[in-house]
Symmetry: C2
Subunit: 203 residues, 2 copies
């Protein structure tokens, strides 16, 4: 029904995450209607991204040079490393403006069912960074708070148990602005266990 090029464009667009056949058609017609220069800007942006962007040699964050902007920033705290699954998690943490240390992007989490063991994620590279006189004294494990993320955190905590490096984990609890009534029992349970003392002695 569509011409071959239009059909190819719709098929390629429909492969993108979160884009169904209807959205793909809508976007294809938008591209057809928009002026050529603007449409080619999108094509160029894709090509440029694939050609220029690779991984930082140190933390494996996305980078257009040997070291990423964070690793090459002299003002960052080099004694702490935040362990994340994907480059997008670096962006999420950077947006909080609460963290001034370095990162290490694992590129995934342990998942025995999918056959992803420690050799498939960047654990070896992490150990190399931590070895010798690295000056790193804390690793914050920021994998997602789900089954695989927790298992990976536990695995890494055990792996680093004798290294003398503090291994910490992101707090679990109620989201800010959330509602007790709608919190699932696991989250509420974690919030209880991890409660903070507001006044009074130690816990």
């Amino acid at each position: 029904m569509y011409t071959p090029s239009v059909q190819t464009l719709i098929d390629e667009l429909a492969r993108l995450p979160g884009i169904g056949p209807k959205s793909a058609q809508r976007i294809a017609f938008y591209i057809l209607k928009s002026d050529k220069e603007r449409a080619l800007r999108l094509a160029d942006a894709i090509v440029e991204c694939k050609e220029k962007v690779s991984f930082c040699e140190s933390c494996f964050n996305l980078s257009e040079s040997r070291l990423c902007g964070i690793c090459s920033d002299k003002d960052r705290d080099r004694s702490v490393i935040c362990l994340v699954e994907e480059p997008r998690d670096v962006i999420a943490i950077e947006k909080t403006k609460e963290y001034r240390g370095l990162y290490h992007v694992l590129g995934g989490v342990l998942n025995p069912i999918d056959g992803i063991g420690p050799d498939k994620i960047r654990v070896r590279e992490l150990l190399k960074r931590l070895s010798g006189n690295s000056g790193i004294n804390e690793v914050i494990v920021c994998t997602n708070p789900n089954l695989e993320g927790e298992a990976t955190a536990l695995y890494l905590a055990r792996l680093l148990a004798d290294s003398g490096i503090t291994v910490s984990r992101l707090a679990s609890g109620l989201p800010v602005g959330g509602d007790l009534e709608y919190a699932d029992e696991l989250t509420l349970g974690r919030a209880l266990v991890g409660r903070r003392v507001l006044i009074g002695g130690e816990r």
Copy 2:
């Protein structure tokens, strides 16, 4: 926070219809993670579409040659023309498999507020197609059933009043599988006015 190429890609993606900043980020990271060949296929599809696809000389549907597949199909009924706003409407009508005639894509509807008069949509080209010994005896106006679509239909009906060509309009009524309770009063009113006789004499 992103590298320049990634930021450019996200910005370009976020310009597409129905894609917000979050989806744009998600798609950008998907493109960065997918293998180069696949990502470049999308870029190529965009370039190819803009280079190859233009308008059919007769009906102004999208086409990769002088005449579109429908206009050059010898088996189509050449006595009836379906008037639509956009090429995507051709696809919608073709999908019904109820229509075997030709099309004419107006490229918009009359909209005095936005300054779109008959000279901005392909009315002149329609009159040219209908003039002389065209063999066309019916024009079905398939503009959208909204204010601008109805006004355009009325305008065209008046324009062709003395041509001897039948001008018809898509039926308005309840959508199949719809519910009386949830139908708006305008639609229900139209369904009443346009009621079909199931048994008995003429209306």
